[in-house]
Amino acid sequence: MSDDILFDLKGVSKQFVKGKETITIFDGLDMSIARGDFLAIMGPSGSGKTTLLNMLGGVDQPTSGEIHFDGKRVDTLSETQLAAWRANNIGFIFQFYNLMPMLNAHRNVELPLLLTNLGKGHRKKSVAAALELVSLSDRAKHMPKEMSGGQQQRVAIARALVSDPKLLLCDEPTGDLDRQTADEILEMLQLLNREYGKTIVMVTHDAEAAKYARRTLHLDKGEFVEKDLAA
């Protein structure tokens, strides 16, 4: 496997049992994601794009096949090992931001750092840097309900970035935002990819959003149709 490959999926199958019926989402899927990639995954509802994102994030397990991350197999890890793996390697950005409503922006961004051994001073510096990156230094003490949707998503991005993960997984990151705000968020993701070398996988149903990615994969019934849309 090349050193440039961050994620490598080999023969991944995923099936769900619903009542008496077994639904196959993926059947022997192979794919790889290179370091520094910004990949958009599009597809109709039920095409498996969220399931794929969940498997990449170690939130869901494949029925069969192998998932390698940075050269190490991760689909066989236990729940606890996966939680630790996510803490070290993955930053999540959700459609509805998923900020903790009772914590201010600073405290929300700090959450992933609480899983590390960093001291208070270090954590404070890292949070300040992450908030500065998303241009929200002046909102550190604000509660989520005191911020707009776009600002909340920027806080969520800062939270995803703060522990310097190798990969950002974005689930419809602009799905809850107006066009202009969505573009700002996408520009930010593009900046993180281009300037800071972050590998990003983004699930979206918005073709405009996908244009910000280096490449877009279209999923249909568990199979890829690749189109180069990179700018």
């Binding site: 939130v59 606890t80 939680a83 803490a87 998923n98 009772m102 992933p112 809850d176």
Partner: protein, 396 residues
Amino acid sequence: MRGFFSQIATVVAMNIMSLPRRLWMSLAAVFAVSVVVAVLLAFLAMAKGFEETLAGTGTESVAIITRTGSQSELNSSMSRDTVNLVSTAPGIAQNAAGDPEYSAELYVIVDGIKRSTQGKANIPMRGISPQGFSLREQVTIVEGRMFEPGRNEIVAGQGVQREFDGFELGREIRFGKTAWEVVGIFSTGGSAFESELWADAPTVQSQFQRGSSFQTVRARLEQPGNVEPIQQFIDNDPQLILDVETEADFFAGQGRALTGIAIFGWILSFVMGLGALAGALNTMYTSVASRIREIATLRAIGFSNSSAFVGTLVESLVLSVIGGIVGALAAWLFFDGFSASTLGASFTQVVFTFELTPELFINGILLALTIGLIGGLFPAWRAARVPVVMAFQGGE
């Protein structure tokens, strides 16, 4: 390890900070626990107060002599001759003049009107000899003076004055056809004697047509706790059909009568506790349900499922401890020092004070913690098993 504890501390803090979102439900759970704890503590304080009153009544240095098999003072009876004979028993202390220190007493029941219910209740009226006063520990006249022998005068215990109408100093009170004047109020430091009226023994005998009969003899012991010489004296004289025991033993036996109240209190609180437990479970399940996306998000970030478990459990414990403290404070405010009376072994009213001791307070908090622990355990288990994919679902 540091990460593990900071995870748990963060989740606990977040759960507590999010309580206002579930304010009413959480308050209902707190209220349910507080009611259970207050009820338990009221019963325990009652039992404790009664026990303390009777335990504080008897002393080891005084023997109480009753007719064999009488079990209570009311059922006992003895003649003047018997009193004279037993008072010469060895083991009874003598005063400076060389006379035995004893008090032959009789015990009659009179009616009083309870302040609380305005209903009639029995009050023990005790005829005592002049020495009888000094045979009680901690006894003091707090108002007025001692009765004079040969006159229809009574001194009333503070408990009687507190619980019954008409025993203020200087008041005249009628029992049957005779009128008595309250000339003094006495205190015995909270013991059961405070539930009594005292008067001159010969006067009580004549006014209540008791001839020359008495019911009990109280005698100071030469050696505190040692009734053996008196017992031997009684055993060796076939005329004396009497029991002797220390006053402390006598009242301790009567104090056990209310042990049942404490047991009843525990049973009642257990049944009510089940109700509070259902409330706690409901509250905590709702809490978990309302935080599912937060729990799943934290798990996605990398927080362990044990942090979700501990966080939920601690929230439940915090709510129940608040309930426990509120309940205990309510019990303390309403019941500690609350004076009540109940039937003693002679079917007379024993006035006692509810006592909420630190030990009982701890019992109440432990009960609250138990409700919180069980009520939080199952919801905490559910919280720990929230699928991480829930983080990706649903909007606000």
